[in-house]
Amino acid sequence: MSTDLDLSGEDRTGTGRATGTGQYVVKALAHGILIVASALAIIPFAYALLTSLKPEEKIFSTMAQIIPAEPTVMNYVNIWMQNPLDRWIFNSLLLSAGVVFFTLLLDSLAGYALAKGDFKGQRFVYLLVVGTLIVPPQAIVVPLYIEMSQFKLVNTYWAVMFLYIANPFGVFMMRQFFLSVPDSYLEAARMDGCSTLQIYTRIMLPMAKPALSSLAVFTFTFIWGAFLWPLIILSDSAMYPLQVGLAGLTGQYSSQWGQLMAAAIIAALPVITAYLLAQKTFMEGIALTGSKG
């Protein structure tokens, strides 16, 4: 029976490469555009990082000198000691953890039902979900505040989280992912003896790992940067997430640019970490879904 098992090499040759100088010009142009775009994204961040390492009193006198002569971490120490930065970071992490987890859970369930389910009003529900995407959040801030105050949830962590859990974009994204999964996986699982819930937990959810991880990063970045809603609903500065806390510093420390830059760098670190971690998972995901047919 083990006749032709060494077939793994089929159709695995590299794509043919066009030759000629025209190819190099196009490549150079593409790289040029990419370099400029990356520079535009990186320069402000790099400048903030370098500035945060300069002593407070020398920032304006050494504007032209980009690399600080004597780098110092005093700005980081000062802002940490003078503000409850640890608590704000903790708050941001708490809100992110809750929102990301429940968003993934609810969005994947809803997306699965909308993609693979067969029930009356499916299309209507889908349109309703997608329809909420066009409502600008700023427009409903006041009604939401009133709603939360009716539930006596003003100035609680719950109120901040409730607004972001199960966002329609995530539902849309998960639905698109599940639509791309062939029905035969569900049918194979049913033949293998899975209940509907088991199909979801054992087959669909693991298969959706790449989609889930990108949704997780997306949601995390979004919650980490959330500003308006926490600012409105929270009144106790002990419960502020980092962005709201930092915004408060802008007026207070308008002369202390070094500390502000340091705070901005601290705020950016988790998001960068999330992207780096997710990059690995994306790769894994691509390798996993490389099935034929």
Partner: protein, 77 residues
């Protein structure tokens, strides 16, 4: 008949935390997410959990502890 306001007292109480009080929301949320992610990462094989999920579980557990022991955190504030 219990009014919504009465029902809301509990979440209101544990949904808020002063600067030097245990963060009960954190204990609940981090604790729950730790259990869920930990289950996926360590108990179930289907997920093929990588290092991110496993370290994430540990990190989330530490955050759960931190929520409860916030007033006695080891660094200055």
């Amino acid at each position: 008949m219990i009014s919504p306001a009465t029902l809301a007292i509990v979440p209101l109480k544990i949904g808020t935390a002063g600067l030097n009080e245990p963060v009960w929301t954190g204990v609940i949320v981090f604790g729950f997410v730790t259990l869920a992610i930990g289950y996926l990462a360590f108990v179930r094989r289907e997920f093929g959990a990588g290092i991110v999920l496993k370290l994430g579980t540990v990190l989330l557990f530490l955050l759960t502890l931190l929520s409860y022991f916030w007033p006695s955190r080891p660094w200055p504030h």
